[in-house]
């Protein structure tokens, strides 16, 4: 009896944001999108920034996820992320401010440049979801 459903659990340090069955998931890993269907082999991965889409019984759910980790274990998919914002609540003004802040970061040393690139990437992803 193959699992026809995934259990999607999104946890942030503050609370469990989402805990519902889903039939398919799409979200960004550190190097690109990944799709997860029921019956996926166990996986631990690093998340990128961007949109998490889940097909659930009550329709399509969408969140902005802010880095972190994913763990697939049996039918349970756990997303550990610093922030998970429902896409409908992502504000354009916030995203623009984040991009401005990211662009203003110093990028003189190698480490700083990496941080800056990451922040800009994050802000851009946020901006594409904003409305």
């Amino acid at each position: 009896m193959a699992d026809k459903q995934l259990q999607l659990v999104i946890v942030t340090p503050e609370r469990t944001v989402f805990d519902e069955p889903a039939s398919a998931l799409r979200f960004p890993l550190f190097d690109g999108q990944i799709g997860i269907l029921p019956g996926r082999a166990p996986l631990v991965g690093r998340l990128g920034y961007g949109e998490l889409k889940a097909t659930t019984a009550s329709g399509e759910k969408s969140f902005f996820i802010d880095g972190g980790f994913v763990q697939v274990k049996g039918a349970v998919v756990s997303i550990l992320t610093a922030r998970a914002i429902p896409t409908a609540e992502v504000k354009r003004s916030d995203a623009e401010e984040a991009l401005k802040k990211a662009s203003a970061l110093p990028g003189t040393t190698e480490q700083q440049a990496a941080t800056k690139a990451r922040e800009i990437e994050r802000a851009r992803r946020l901006l594409t979801l904003a409305h």
């Binding site: 469990t16 631990v44 690093r46 274990k73």
Partner: protein, 292 residues
Amino acid sequence: MAKARAIVKRLKAVKNIRKITRTMELIATARFKKAMDRATEAAAYTKKISEIVADLSATNLTFTHPLLKAHETQTNGILLVLTSNRGLCGGYNGAVLRPALARQKELTGPLNLSVECSGRRGLAFLKYQQVNVTEQFTNFEDKPSYDEVEAIANRYIELYCSGKLDRLDIAYTKFESVSRQKAVVETLLPIGSIGGAADSTATEKKIDYEFLPSAGEILEEIVPAAFKARLFKCFLDAAVSEQIARRVAMKAATENAGDMIKSLSMQYNRARQSQITSELSEIIGGAAALEA
């Protein structure tokens, strides 16, 4: 009559105080419940993190990360003290500040120690003790948010990784159970172990994970996340413990006020009775004098 009046006045004042402390107790109870819910919800994240760490350690990986490594020369240290913004919470702040000050004295010699403090109560105390506080936070009430804690954590991580910080201690009240909270001083950096649940894997069935990118690179990311979660937990623990301490203190105050009201009304009744008796005996005495 004068004495009875004075007692009535005191009685009224004590009754007022009882009303106030009773209300504060109720508020603290409500806040405690909320803080407690937050803390239990936050526990899910820490649990998951240690689960992944346990999975990682099952791959026989050697843990190397700048945050895990103790620096060879210890020159700079930070002591973070978590206290409350408000008073009227019994021994809560005193219990944290006592061991904190002891640790500060102990570390000041060998290390170039800077003290950081959250909470107005602690700031006032440290100022009185003439301890120089380099960084102060008063924005943490009963609901510390992750964003604020993360900002602090990021600063520590950066300082530690760049070698400007060799040791981070934190003094806070650890929440053990609803009836037990303990003021402790813990060393957060270097991180001793990020596992905690690592030994429970032996009983579990081993799962062969696919790691994306690699176990090593995931570890590199998970160590800071574990540190942030741990620091956040300290703040949450402190917030919950503060509300418990306040509830207990206010409960005791309400009970004391009740006892005081009892003894005061007894005194008042006695004063009134003796006044009536003396008036009566005066009248009888006067009548007897007229008859004679």
